[in-house]
């Protein structure tokens, strides 16, 4: 792997141990993927919730934070994915003081590195939207797939250590989705179902994701009867990335790299289409269905809610009350929470018995421990991504539209 003169100096430790670690890590990963060299990136996004970091990860961050200031500060705007705990709401969710303590330590360490604690997985809606052709180091699979597909930017799934390394060097190994050769469509899916709700978009992402089934597949979607909005593509992409580990999709006529179907395949032959109909969507929902079951918790999260989704939740809850044996949890970004507070949306959701948590996302906030503390098992959500993840955390997840989720939260059972 070719390194710049500066990278060779960093590797030799000439600017300290932190940047030396960063380049060493990038060389190991780059050589694994046969990267020819590195590429400058303009933003890094670090996934580092404390559940994933554990004590070991936090101690490692603290060891970086203890280095001299000039050696430890990131060089490009470096922002964070949701945290493990919201200091304002953690007690109401059954999270512990020990969790709050480790969270505070991780935050202090990141701040010492110059990282901006944005704590969001919807940074493309709320912080600094990526630009067509921009090279990035994005953690969170939902952020990466949206940046690549909807914005036409270029990033791999960058795990926490790699995104932080990119922040420290301002570059990342040039492999995978930084290269044109990997951005060509590999499969063709024709949608023949009407998509009525955000959950339907997530279900579609889940179906395509199951079919694509690995990181190097690039699905191309046709047949949509209208141009989807940002929240719809957010749920579609997040589910596609979650079920399929997919990092890029094209929608001819909608996404920037595919004005036409032939562009999505870079002029190569278009593969035979797989058709997705209403029966496929129904079968997807049926995988998780549990009609009549008692609902322990209703969750709106994964990805964090936009201001528009917050308004929808508030509107559906107005004048109603969440059942006494059911919890309702909404997670959003700190910026959106601030706006929702200002516009009265938070109050409307919480007056109906919900909890609005900021800077967190449900599966990144000790979901297993919250389940044990609150006696939660049957979970209802409109996020296909969340139903995919939480099975491994001991939940019984069910997917439904936002409207049906709220009707069920009020009834206390799956409607």
């Amino acid at each position: 792997m070719h390194l710049t003169e500066e990278e060779r100096a960093l590797l030799a430790g000439e600017q300290g141990a932190v940047r030396q670690w960063a380049v060493r890590h990038q060389v190991a990963v780059g050589e694994f993927f046969d990267a020819p060299d590195t590429v400058p990136v303009s933003q890094a996004h670090v996934m580092a919730d404390t559940e994933s970091l554990g004590g070991v990860g936090v101690e490692w961050l603290e060891s970086l934070a203890a280095m001299p200031e000039a050696e430890r500060r990131v060089r490009i705007p470096t922002i964070t994915d949701p945290r493990g705990l919201d200091m304002q709401s953690y007690k109401r969710l059954g999270q512990t003081e020990a969790m709050a303590e480790i969270e505070a330590r991780a935050t202090r360490a990141f701040e010492a590195l110059g990282v901006l604690m944005t704590n969001t997985c919807i940074n493309y809606q709320t912080i600094l939207p990526p630009v067509h052709g921009e090279h990035l180091a994005m953690g969170d699979t939902g952020v990466a797939i949206y940046s690549n597909s909807v914005m036409g930017a270029r990033t791999n799934f960058e795990g926490g250590p790699s995104a932080l390394a990119a922040g420290l060097t301002g570059r990342t190994p040039r492999y995978g989705y930084h290269l044109d050769a990997h951005r060509v469509g590999t499969g063709h899916f024709v949608v023949e179902a009407e998509l009525r709700d955000l959950a339907d978009w997530g279900a579609l992402g889940g179906i395509v994701g199951r079919a694509a089934n690995n990181y190097w597949q690039v699905p191309v979607i046709t047949g949509l009867t209208r141009v989807p909005g940002s929240d719809e593509l957010k749920h579609f992409g997040a589910a596609l990335a979650s079920f399929g580990s997919v990092a890029l999709f094209h929608v001819p006529g909608v996404t920037p790299e595919a004005p036409a179907l032939s562009d999505a395949f870079q002029g190569r032959a278009v593969p035979p289409a797989a058709r997705i109909g209403a029966n496929d969507l129904a079968a997807f929902y049926a995988t998780y269905a549990a009609p009549g079951d008692k609902v322990d918790v209703v969750v709106f999260a994964a990805p964090q809610l936009s201001l528009i989704e917050m308004q929808s939740v508030a509107g559906l809850l107005d004048g109603r009350r969440v059942h006494e044996s059911t919890s309702l949890v909404v997670t959003t970004s700190p910026e959106i929470k601030f706006a929702a507070d200002r516009m009265g949306l938070t109050r409307r959701i919480e007056d109906a018995g919900g909890v609005v948590a900021a800077g967190v996302c449900f599966y990144q906030m000790y979901a297993r421990e919250m389940a044990e503390a609150n006696g939660w098992q049957r979970l209802l959500t409109n996020s296909a991504k969340l139903v995919n993840i939480l099975g491994g955390y001991g939940y019984k997840p069910t997917l439904a539209s936002m409207e049906r989720c709220i009707d069920s939260a009020v009834a206390g059972r799956v409607l």
Partner: protein, 139 residues
């Protein structure tokens, strides 16, 4: 002569261990109970089995980015696999293996390793050479 499989040069140290094989995928966050050291997603083909100190052989890496941190944390607590062998890794697992100094290899000349290696095989992995030797089977 033991059976030798060639793969792309990988990450981490040379290791020898017992294989645990399935035609399924891998995500530390989605699939594992990282306290008990077992596969915990009911739909996973290795559900209920311990992965600790095993050479796990699966098809690809799935799920979110958390695995990049989790492997190192699992290794520090002694509940990590000894190595991971895949048909094709994604970026996250490679980044996590690099961060954890865990052995990872993929891209075999003879195809998907879940069809080449069997559960219970004694396997030696030499990542820098891109070699996996099945010690209990002859070429």
């Amino acid at each position: 002569m033991p059976l030798v499989l060639k793969c792309h040069p990988g990450l981490g140290p040379v290791v020898t261990g017992t294989a645990l094989v399935a035609r399924d995928n891998f995500s530390a966050r989605y699939d594992l109970d990282r306290k008990a050291g077992t596969f915990s997603r009911a739909a996973h083909k290795l559900y209920g089995q311990s992965y600790v100190d095993k050479i796990i052989v699966l098809v690809t890496a799935k799920g979110g980015v958390a695995t990049a941190w989790m492997l190192r944390e699992m290794a520090a607590r002694g509940v990590a696999p000894k190595a991971i062998v895949l048909d094709r890794s994604n970026t996250i697992l490679a980044q996590g293996a690099a961060f954890a100094d865990l052995t990872l290899v993929d891209r075999f000349e003879a195809g998907d390793p879940t069809g080449l290696i069997r559960t219970g095989d004694e396997v030696r992995i030499e990542p820098s050479k891109g070699l996996v030797t099945i010690l209990n089977r002859d070429a």
